[in-house]
């Protein structure tokens, strides 16, 4: 079984970090993983995205033209990637910023009001963890506890250990919102 997710949004919404945490957790969970960021000019203020592939087999292509899943944090990302998602795929969408509904009817949509939940966790900056929590519940690709552990380790290694409890809360709130 192979899952591939594109996590996309504005620069600053934390989509690159969310993808790294998911990839790290996937590896911790015993899966083969790849993480591929967009690193072009779009990183500078425009939209950013990364692609994570999680598989029980060695990963072939790290670049995905038919992702099984999409986490869209803003409208440009939904516009760009919605048509690519595989049939019966999963789309987690940031309802706080995206007013339109999905055009696709052959995917499983999860519309999450991400921003109030991030505020409830302690900061609007935790929207990425809310969305990741929702994605984990929607797909079951990696257990929540494994992701919490990966997140805590990565933040601590980056000298940001004090933000771990808030991000744990955000993951939980996202998880429960689905």
């Amino acid at each position: 079984m192979e899952r591939s997710v594109i996590i996309a949004g504005f620069g600053g919404q934390g989509v690159i970090l969310a993808g790294k945490i998911l990839a790290q957790a996937g590896m911790d969970h015993g899966l083969e993983v790849t993480w591929l960021p967009s690193y072009g000019p779009e990183m500078r203020g425009g939209t950013a995205n990364c692609t994570v592939v999680l598989s029980e087999e060695p990963v072939g292509s790290p670049i995905v033209d038919e992702p099984t899943d999409l986490v869209a944090m803003n409208l440009p990302s939904l516009d760009k990637f919605e048509p690519m998602v595989a049939r019966d795929g999963t789309i987690v969408m940031n309802r706080s910023l995206i007013e339109r509904d999905l055009e696709r009817t052959d995917v499983r949509p999860y519309l999450v009001d991400v921003h109030p939940l991030a505020e409830e966790a302690g900061s609007s900056r935790a929207i990425n963890m809310v969305a990741l929590g929702a994605y984990l519940k929607a797909t079951g690709v990696v257990p929540l506890e494994v992701v919490k552990g990966a997140m805590a380790r990565m933040l601590e290694e980056g000298g940001k250990g004090k933000f771990v409890p808030m991000n744990e809360k955000a993951l939980e709130l996202g998880y429960e919102a689905v």
């Binding site: 790294k20 993480w35 591929l36 690193y39 072009g40 072939g60 790290p62 670049i63």
Partner: protein, 351 residues
Amino acid sequence: MGERKLMRGNEVIAEAAIRAGCECYFAYPITPQAELLEHMARNMPRLGRTFVQAESEIGAINMLYGAAAAGVRAMTSSSSPGISLKQEGISYIAGSNLPAVIVNIMRGGPGLGDIAPAQGDYFQATKGGGHGDYRMIVLGPSTVPEAGELTILAFDLADKYRVPVMILADGMLGQMMEPVELPDPVDPATLPKKDWALTGAKGRDPNIILSFDLDPEVLKQMNLVLQEKYRKIEDNEARYEEYQTDDADIVIAAYGTVARIAKTVVRRARAEGIKLGLFRPITLWPFPYEPLRELASRVKTVLTVEMSAGQMWEDVRLAVAERAETPFYGEMGGVVTTPKKILSEVRKYAR
């Protein structure tokens, strides 16, 4: 082997170089290989080794020339336009019979190009971007773990043959992360002795390292020594991987990240009944002509796929020599090919 860690290709190449005993690293920053330089900047001084952010790529390659002449394991890295600037130095290093490692994390060209992944520097790397009759071993990693393994191999081959060795990867491999298990650091005592190096002539005759002689007969002899070495490398060092080629009708020839994308294509094509395989050169020079020729005599089609206008394609056609049809599909300018695009090309040649 150490623990399994999630690391970027750029960081893995840097860390593997450190573990291979790289004592000196010289470079000038450029996207998309910046993390390689950053990893060296953080770690080389801490280990008591030499890190220099040079004033230019030309400065860096000539520092590499000097360090190699002094007999230490040394490396430089850059991306396409920066590698172009290093060509004169690479020719001097080759002409002087020196071991050195050069990393090219390719981006779109020609000219200033862009910063997206590309494979447009194959000709430059494998056919001689600098002047004169020289060769350089060129290694094309396809995955992040392999980038680490081939970096260590690069230092070993450079020392073994006293030649420059290039790691030729693209921006995607440099930027992406994948789990790796890094090897234990090599014990410097186990490295080959370099009695030719410039280490100070006190108590011995001086060593002289030059790529120069005004007497054509002498320079011819120096060239013959190089050529003899290159034949030995061709005979012993060609490396490649075949994937699902046993019963294949069609084979994709691809290297680097395109080859791993093609592995996904092989699985998808087989799911729809197309007998597709993959031939992946690991050494781009020496190119594995003989194994590809043998494979070509058993298949109908060898489809070359590159992120270039068709550079390795020329070596594929030399190898296949009309034993099979040899179409080409490529993307340029930093546009990355995808499994869907390759599969639609493959379908054109399926019966």
